[in-house]
Symmetry: C2
Subunit: 397 residues, 2 copies
């Protein structure tokens, strides 16, 4: 019978308790790190390591927490979108494109080379390359927002580069899955995936923005509700879900939704009203990243060495690629963009999971990729802050 509630009342009680513990832990980690003048999100990730299976095991990662984490990064990027104008993004288009493409090519080549060097099969090597490509713009965005640095040219360049990065990563993961599963490279499928992803971004980002520029009233039909919050949130969820359904990151859809809505006249009220959603959900995203740490996987010294090597390769190749692409912003600006692209965050963990499912990664490589994703995520925020606290970067496009 379709009637029966799928969860017993006691299960719902347990899930409420999990949400409470996660939010409380995040807040405590956040406050401690603010007081020692470190990036709050690092405190939240460490809180996740502590309450998660790695240390106390107070909370298990189930469906609800996973969805809350996803909504966390979705509302984070929605917020970033609300602070971004299409015109600002187009202005840094060339730098962002270059940084995005070079920031994909170098890590991919590095990962593939490392894979072959380790004597792995083609599927595994290609997957290793794809895993090194992933960039978590959510982490960088959170740091930039915390520093109030979202309106800098470098920040726009990072956002634009992250979109290019995500599209190429999507194609590469598709290619890698194909090779791991069938042993063959299928260029036609890769082209179709690329065309759909680019089409979505251009159609929604440019088309949607122009539409709302021309007709902001679409979100403010006089009798349609008291506030634009729910229409805005519905558009965000719809585009995030659509992006995710075609295999892109949901956050790309959320970001484009925010950018569209930013064009309407009533931008300010919607920012005020989205703020509590933006305060409520993102802590789940950061804590859940920490919960995915499994310290037991790193008791073997060989694994530790591999982790350090892969992490170093991930940092150097991504930084070098993005830096090269962004060098028209001057050395400091390029360094800012390069560092901003380094965190692999949840995207690296997702690619690792796909690789595990496709049989390309064994448990050790999987643990190494997850470890690398979290290490790059923990390293970047303090560095980025220091770079921003130094003199304003020289040179602008």
């Amino acid at each position: 019978m379709s009637f029966v509630p799928p969860l017993a009342a006691s299960t719902v009680a347990d899930i409420l308790l999990d949400l409470f513990i996660v939010l409380l832990a995040a807040k405590i980690g956040d406050e401690i790190f603010k007081r020692i003048r470190q990036p709050a999100i690092v405190g939240e990730i460490l809180a996740g390591i502590i309450v998660g299976p790695a240390v106390f095991g107070l909370v298990e990662l189930g469906e609800t927490l996973t969805v809350f984490a996803e909504l966390g990064v979705v509302f984070l990027l929605f917020w970033v979108g609300l602070e971004t104008r299409l015109s600002d993004l187009l202005q840094v288009g060339k730098v962002a494109g270059l940084a995005g493409v070079l920031g994909v090519i170098l890590p991919f080549a590095g990962g593939v080379a490392l894979g072959f060097g380790m004597g792995e099969e083609t599927g595994t090597a290609v997957f290793l390359g794809a895993a090194l490509v992933a960039t978590s713009v959510g982490i960088t965005s959170a740091v930039l927002l915390e520093m109030g640095a979202m309106d800098r040219t470098e920040s726009r360049a990072i956002l634009g580069a992250a979109i290019v990065d995500d599209i190429l990563a999507l194609v590469l993961v598709g290619v890698a899955t194909g090779i791991a599963e069938t042993g063959e490279f299928d260029p036609l499928t890769a082209l179709v995936v690329l065309a759909i992803a680019v089409g979505f971004v251009v159609f929604v980002g440019v088309g949607g923005t122009k539409l709302l520029q021309a007709r902001p009233a679409l979100l403010q039909t006089p009798k349609f509700s008291e506030s634009p919050l729910l229409p805005g949130v519905i558009i965000c969820l719809g585009l995030a879900a659509f992006a995710a359904e075609i295999g892109l990151a949901a956050i790309i859809g959320a970001f484009l939704a925010g950018m569209m809505i930013a064009e309407t006249k009533d931008e300010d009220p919607i920012e005020e009203e989205v703020a509590p959603l933006y305060a409520f959900f993102p802590p789940f995203f950061f804590v859940v990243i920490g919960m995915q740490v499994d310290l037991d996987a790193f008791t073997d010294l060989g694994t530790d060495a591999l982790l350090l090597g892969v992490t170093a390769l991930a940092v150097v190749t991504k930084f070098a690629g993005a830096w090269l692409g962004a060098r028209s912003l001057g050395p400091k600006g390029a360094a800012f963009v390069g560092v901003g692209m380094v965190p692999r965050g949840e995207v690296g963990i997702i690619v690792a999971s796909i690789g595990l499912a496709a049989g390309a990664f064994d448990e050790e490589l999987f643990a190494v990729i997850v470890g690398m994703s979290i290490l790059t995520t923990l390293i970047v925020p303090p560095v980025l802050r220091r770079l921003a606290d130094a003199d304003a970067p020289d040179g602008v496009t």
Copy 2:
């Protein structure tokens, strides 16, 4: 390995799509009902019937939607708590207590009598009584908030009576489960359950409120975050989870949390900041109620007749009990309280599920209780609005 994300990216994409569909459907139902000047929540429940398995089956009721629905009613009652002062509640204490107790005794007696009249066993008869007791204060609160009638004496009386009602219902469900499973009535367990529930409400409601009256600074430590939102929401989630863990409704904890926080000086900013959470989550609660409708269960005329009989009994006994208890508010005030206590909503559905799990209800009786819960929920909002639109009720405590 504890690492592996529990959900594939495609599953997360599907859940995002479900959330989008539910929110969009709720908004459409809401707007249509506002335009035809009917209570918006009825439109949202009907939207749930349409997108749910009963009609189009666009969305399945899984873990995430269940948790979102629960958070919906939790934030709804948190909001109601924020608009309630303990002193106002204590002022209507006598009326609320009488309305609560009589509003439990009559439906319980009616249900048990009906059960024995139908030739059911003791366990089933007692469960039927317990199922008729359940009151969904969430539904009534939503209607009162929509009408801006939350500060009326009758509304306070309904809130107080609902707390009494929920405590007694908890005890009755415990007793009924004991009888259904062991065939015996265990007075000691019943007393312990009662003592814990009353203790929680008094300790948190009165003690917590006095604490925050004396030290509002507890929520505003200067360096502790920019806004009181997250501490407030954390307290709400914590008390909701705690109430749920001891078997009370989570909403009782959420309501008490709101009432505590309302005593702190910065009540107004927190209301502003909770507003978007209150706009975001409750639609899931109403849509999910509608999704639990299974029209197929009512193709049998005998079942339909039973549904009508049980619904009539549920309406008449609850109205009469609460009316008798509240008659010091004058006939109109008492009628308002009586009608306000009628909706069974999600609480009736939960009791029905427990009865099904305990073996006290067969599928037909289960479907009938769920149907009764939804019918009482759909009937009340228009009636309550009409009562409120009529002259202000005469007489006050």
